[in-house]
């Protein structure tokens, strides 16, 4: 009974479709969809940078350019750890008693004053116990820890004389 009704419904739907459309129009529509689908990926869509920059823009919206000891200072969009600025160092110089790591984690932050994106090398200062002051957790451009080379949770002291992490500096190395 139910199957009969279902049969009738399908039949009538199929007939209506057949009456309304010619085979050529179906082919034409199908062709449009196929061709359009093939061309769509060729359209100039920036799959990489734009989304990231959108996040950087988010941080920049509330960022300030006056006080580098605050986590919302513009350069700290990817700072993960203690700010050297609070630990006796500066954004460009490790505190006395610590070594600048030769490796760094490089990210992009936007300076809200000029709207320009800058490349920043987050260089850990190593060889001294954790500074413990001004902890910040910037995650801009970061990848999970199974991509360690793009993760900023890990200690970037490779190549320094000690793997003990002290604080993070933020060196400007270019414009993006």
């Amino acid at each position: 009974m139910i199957l009969d009704a279902f049969d009738r419904m399908m039949e009538s739907a199929a007939r209506q479709l057949a009456q309304r459309s010619s085979r050529r129009s179906i082919l034409a529509r199908l062709g449009t969809v196929l061709a359009g689908g093939a061309v769509l990926p060729l359209l100039p869509v920036d799959k990489s940078g734009r989304a990231k920059l959108a996040h950087a823009n988010e941080f920049a919206k509330t960022a300030q350019t006056k006080d580098p000891t605050q986590c919302n200072y513009w350069r700290h969009c990817s700072s993960d750890g203690y700010l050297c600025e609070c630990c006796g160092g500066t954004m460009n110089k490790c505190p006395p008693g610590s070594y600048a790591s030769p490796t760094s984690w490089i990210g992009t932050c936007i300076n809200p004053d000029d709207g320009q994106a800058y490349l920043i090398a987050y260089q850990d200062c190593c060889g001294k116990d954790s500074c413990g002051l001004c902890p910040c957790l910037g995650t801009e451009g970061e990848m999970p820890s199974y991509r360690p080379e793009l993760n900023n949770d890990i200690v970037w002291c490779f190549g320094a004389p000690s793997m003990v992490y002290h604080c993070s500096s933020q060196v400007l190395i270019g414009k993006a």
Partner: protein
């Protein structure tokens, strides 16, 4: 013919880049885009701000990476080393970075007539991970020394600094 033309264009682009030093402390900040930007964000942290590498950990590129172009396995090796093959960059951008690196850090060490990498070969090569990276690298360095292209005590990586607890002061 088209491939040759494309290779020539790539090479010209590469030579244009080679004139610009990549980074020097204290110099005005330079703009980064394309392969230079990708390289900066994905590779430079460990290969060093001016390609000097991280002693004991990551090889220098400057004046060193080009040496591999003198060996038959070198081309394949450069596309398959873990940092390259495992990159998050897609094949096209990765290829551009490889060519940019050779143009910028290859200096006069790149073999004459070495053709720029193509997207197709990089796409294929990165699917074949290097199973004995160190063994292959050691054999290639030995061959470079035999050819007189590499100093006996130079392995491109050097040694980590002596471990120290604290810098004092």
């Amino acid at each position: 013919m088209r491939a040759a033309l494309r290779a020539a264009v790539l090479l010209l682009a590469a030579v244009g880049v080679a004139r610009a030093a990549d980074y020097a402390p204290g110099r005005p900040l330079e703009s980064h885009d394309g392969a230079r930007l990708d390289y900066a964000l994905k590779c430079k942290g460990c290969h060093g701000l001016w390609g000097q590498g991280t002693p004991g950990h990551v090889p220098r590129l400057d004046g060193f990476v080009g040496l591999f172009t003198h060996l038959p396995e070198g081309r394949d090796y450069l596309m398959r080393v873990p940092g390259v093959a495992r990159s998050v960059l897609d094949d096209g951008r990765l290829t551009a970075v490889l060519n940019w690196v050779l143009a910028t850090y290859g200096r006069d060490k790149v073999a004459t007539g070495f053709a720029p990498f193509t997207v197709e070969e990089v796409a294929a090569a990165r699917l074949r991970p290097l199973e004995d990276r160190k063994g292959l690298r050691d054999r290639m360095l030995a061959e470079l020394r035999r050819k007189g292209l590499l100093a006996p005590d130079d392995d491109g990586i050097g040694r980590s600094p002596e471990p120290r607890a604290a810098a004092g002061g």
